[in-house]
């Protein structure tokens, strides 16, 4: 297999070990990004600035969680283990999400003195969402037909998320001085990590060679061009090239925040992973 390959189903994918490995690596990135950010979103439940937003934010977190489930299911189909085990029993070092999505929502715990930062929530969701848009659009041409198919379905939901975050960005950027300042602080914090989003990890060459998705540089350029345009329309100054965190999540290096997230989200399942829940 090489250029112009098209793999119709999981059985064909499994026939080439190298292809299956590259596909799995990419799927873990897709699944883990959405899973962990949806988890962070679920921690916001009941704490959003107003009730209408609580409902909307929760709905978007569910969509993201739903996308993660579809990707974990594809990994299960590839023979890598049960979707529930993949989501809840792997150690932090096996996760391939970008660091940006694992950062805590703010100080405190979701049920104990949460001092959450709405500006950070908006910027993180929007900047990640803009990258996800570019990634899904590229996946429409993926050599792995089942992935191209579900990406189309995800894009239809995802467009509404972007519209939602766009309204927030515009409103906060053009309202009070306080909101503007908090927004700019949120942007600066997101910018410290955002550069890692377009990384395809250690197997990037094979992922691209097999036509699973476009190359890192192309994805990055498209994403930054879109983001720059949106910042400009909102009247925000461009923060320049996004940085990369010290830990490289795509390589399995993570902060203590991911450990906390995993311990919480798997607490009940780990009581007895063999039992039915």
């Amino acid at each position: 297999m090489g250029d112009n390959v098209r793999v119709e189903n999981v059985e064909q994918a499994k026939q080439n070990q190298e292809y299956a490995q590259a596909l799995a690596d990419l799927l873990f990135q897709l699944a883990d990004d959405d899973f962990i950010l949806a988890y962070r979103g679920s921690e916001w439940l009941g704490l959003a600035p107003h009730i209408e937003e609580d409902v909307a934010f929760s709905s978007m977190s569910q969509d993201m969680m739903g996308h993660a489930v579809m990707h974990y299911q594809m990994l299960e189909d590839l023979g890598l283990g049960k979707a529930d085990d993949l989501a809840q029993l792997r150690e932090a070092g096996a996760f391939r999400n970008a660091i940006l999505v694992e950062r805590k929502n703010g100080a405190g715990e979701y049920n104990d003195n949460p001092h959450y930062d709405w500006a950070y929530a908006i910027v993180r969701s929007y900047v990640y969402g803009l990258y996800k848009q570019v990634r899904l659009e590229s996946l429409l041409q993926s050599s792995y037909a089942p992935l191209a198919l579900i990406s189309r379905k995800m894009l239809t939901e995802h467009r509404y998320h972007l519209m939602h975050w766009q309204v927030w960005l515009k409103q906060l950027a053009n309202s009070t001085k306080e909101a503007r300042q908090k927004l700019e602080t949120g942007i600066a914090r997101v910018w410290e990590d955002a550069g890692e989003l377009s990384s395809l990890g250690q197997n990037a060459d094979n992922i691209v060679r097999f036509g699973l998705i476009a190359g890192e540089e192309l994805l990055r350029q498209r994403w930054l061009a879109n983001t720059k345009d949106i910042f400009q329309k909102a009247g925000l100054s461009w923060p320049g090239e996004p940085g990369v965190p010290t830990e490289r999540g795509r390589l399995g290096e993570h902060t203590a925040d991911l450990g906390q997230a995993l311990a919480t989200l798997s607490e009940v399942y780990r009581l007895d992973p063999v039992a039915k829940w």
């Binding site: 988890y39 679920s42 439940l45 009941g46 107003h50 969680m65 949460p114 309202s175 399942y269």
Partner: protein, 322 residues
Amino acid sequence: MQTQIERFNMTENEKMEAFLARIDRGEKIEADDWMPDDYRNQLVKLISMHGMSEIMGALPEKEWVPKAPTLRRKLAIMAKVQDEMGHGQLLLRVAEDLIAPLGKTREDLMQDLFTGRLKFHNVFHMEAPTWADAGVIGWLVDGAAIITQSMSLDTSYAPYARALHRICAEEKFHAQHGESIVLELAEGTAEQRQMLQEAITRWWPSLLMFFGPPENGNITSNQASNMRYKIRTQTNEELRQVFLKKYLPRIFHLGFTLPDDTIYFDEAEDKWVYQQPDWEAFKQIVKGNGPRSAHRLNLREMSYEETKWVRDAIMSFGRQVG
């Protein structure tokens, strides 16, 4: 149809008589219709408490949303709790229309919640320490809510009835969601069954209290006027009996017990006879002295205060554009 001028010329007594005649004819009252202050006040009290209970009711389950044990359960409980917030929003919109003529807004309702003037349901003051509690809340608390809300589907206040129709439809899914969690635990390992038994035992007094104290023939003035206005049609005890008849056989069928050795079904009277919960404790709980009252109110108030800048920003943006 009366013209506005005719109505203007009516005395307060005549307006009241005309209003009660509408109620007796089974007509529905809309937000802009004339209504006696007493009717409005009863509705505000009932609907704002119902709305805040939905919102505060999201908090005990919120504790289990990030921890739900499987991907399927994670998706289901996120959707479920989102629905509860949505119900709160629907109901607060109904309450907002009722308090608007009094010069009040949602902000006043939020502040009333924080000061303790506006109460929320006793069940949401309680602890939910295990995953089985999340199941019992969905199965039995939502099951109890369906019973009280179904009674009000035919309420004389049309906007409330419309909200309740939607809410009840969704609550039925919630009860199924809760039942599904409970059945999985009931058919599970010894540890899972024990977790569920402990949750049922823990929730039993709160479930009895859910419907309010029994009348023992003495219906309170509030209840009496709500029945006169056709806001509600059944007493606390009647509703509690509906609940007991529906759920006790199911609990016993699954092999679980209740912390009440004396409970039995009286065939002749066609009712369950049970040990009364501590109604003094009930009063304390709804006053805000329950085991989790302060924690949950603090969580809600803190997040509300810390996001004030966001609501200010939205208002400011609206003014600039408008």
